[in-house]
């Protein structure tokens, strides 16, 4: 291995060996998961496109939310421990508190935040489609109330119902027995 590269690797190992924070691994996993999990979900051919999209967005957003939460809660709890613990126990206690912070984030803070944040985001994401649908209904109701003469046939295919004119007698339809 190249010497410069080996020195870098040695430094990384030395840092990790002296202080391996619980936040490192969870943040690394969340970052790679945020890219890979939605990609794999979208590649799944067995699921419906709608469900696939919903799941992929949910998965991606979960990991995007997870990264800062892991970092914030981990570092925050370590700082809190440093404030309250006696000096001789600070180093040990701060690291343990960091793990507790990360666990709290994994168990309820991240899922809770996701439930709160994903709903409005999903609504925003599907808002345009909803708007388009409402517009469609508006155009159709205008046509049926007779306010507009033009009808965009691309919007829908009208149901062909039998007209009353079909059953009305008229002299325009040729000779009728005993007719006028």
């Amino acid at each position: 291995m190249n010497n410069a590269l080996l020195d870098k690797f040695r430094n990384i190992c030395l840092k990790l060996g002296k202080n391996n924070k619980p936040t490192y691994v969870v943040m690394a996993i969340a970052a790679v998961k945020g890219i890979c999990r939605p990609t794999f979900t979208m590649m799944d051919k067995k699921e419906e496109p709608k469900t696939k999209k919903y799941t992929a967005i949910r998965e991606g957003l979960t990991e995007i939310i997870a990264i800062p939460v892991y970092w914030g809660l981990g570092e925050g709890s370590a700082k809190l421990a440093n404030k309250f613990l006696p000096d001789e126990l600070k180093a040990k206690g701060a690291k343990n508190c960091m793990l507790i912070g990360v666990c709290a984030a994994a168990l309820f803070v991240i899922p809770g935040l996701c439930s709160l944040a994903i709903k409005p985001l999903m609504e925003k994401f599907y808002h345009n489609k909803k708007g388009a649908l409402a517009q469609k209904f508006d155009e159709i109701s205008t046509v049926s109330s007779g306010k507009s003469k033009t009808l965009n046939t691309q919007l829908y295919s009208p149901v062909k119902r039998p007209s009353l004119q079909t059953f009305v007698n008229s002299n325009q339809h040729g000779m009728r027995v005993g007719g006028v």
Binding site: C13, N20, V25, F137, I140
Partner: protein, 222 residues
């Protein structure tokens, strides 16, 4: 009350979990397997079937990840990086250990007091024998497993923990965790999740023919 909390926060067992990447990941994934499906289930804005389906899928995904991680990633990457570190670094930097288990045991011994450490080193290993200078069969001691230089280190008040070796092992664990949980486990879970969801009956409603709501509304308006 405060003393109790301090004792828990600074306990050795919690510290052992904190200093080991694998235990951290196992703990975190287990909590995720409980927390995430739970929060999906209490979400009132999603319809019941989708909620159950998403929660079951999330639980199965996390459970598969955990199993794959414990069964494959932990042993492969731990042993692999230990061997790579032995090849890359000098013995003075990383000590002379025969395997990663021995190094883990060494680290545990380092955390004890010198007196307790010396007692442990002098203990006999049950069922394991060696031949002494006179050719007699005698019980092997714990210290016989270690290299003489390592035994010398363990007899010091503050032994060297060989942080480069520890860091290399942790680096391997982090890389293994990322690879295992973010790339490998999703592939395995995709193979396993659909049959499992089918067996649990969650995929039935999905395959049922759906009436298009938009079409229904359009028909009503027309």
């Amino acid at each position: 009350m405060m003393n109790g909390i301090t004792r828990i926060l600074t306990s050795n067992s919690l510290n052992n979990i904190t200093s080991n990447t694998n235990s951290q990941v196992i703990m975190e994934t287990t909590l995720k397997a409980i927390g995430r499906p739970g929060f999906i289930l209490i979400d009132n804005d999603i319809d019941d079937n989708t909620k159950k389906y998403a929660a079951a899928k999330e639980f199965l995904y996390q459970a598969t990840c955990l199993l794959v991680y414990i069964a494959l990633v932990v042993p492969v990457f731990k042993k692999g990086t230990f061997k790579i570190a032995q090849k890359l670094f000098k013995p003075e930097e990383i000590g002379k250990f025969s395997n990663s288990k021995q190094y883990a045991h060494y680290l545990k011994l380092c955390d004890t007091t010198l007196n307790n450490r010396q007692k442990t080193l002098g203990k006999e290993i049950k069922g394991v024998y060696k031949t002494d200078k006179n050719g007699n069969k005698v019980h092997k001691l714990v210290e016989d497993d270690y290299d003489p230089l390592i035994v010398k280190e363990l007899n010091k008040e503050n032994p060297d923990k060989f942080p480069i070796l520890k860091g290399a092992v942790e680096f391997g664990n982090i890389v293994g965790s990322v690879f295992g949980l973010a790339i490998f486990a999703p592939q395995v879970s995709h193979l396993f999740i659909h049959p499992a969801l089918n067996a649990l009956g969650f995929e039935k409603h999905k395959n049922a023919p759906k009436v298009d709501e938009t079409q229904q509304k359009l028909d009503k308006n027309v």
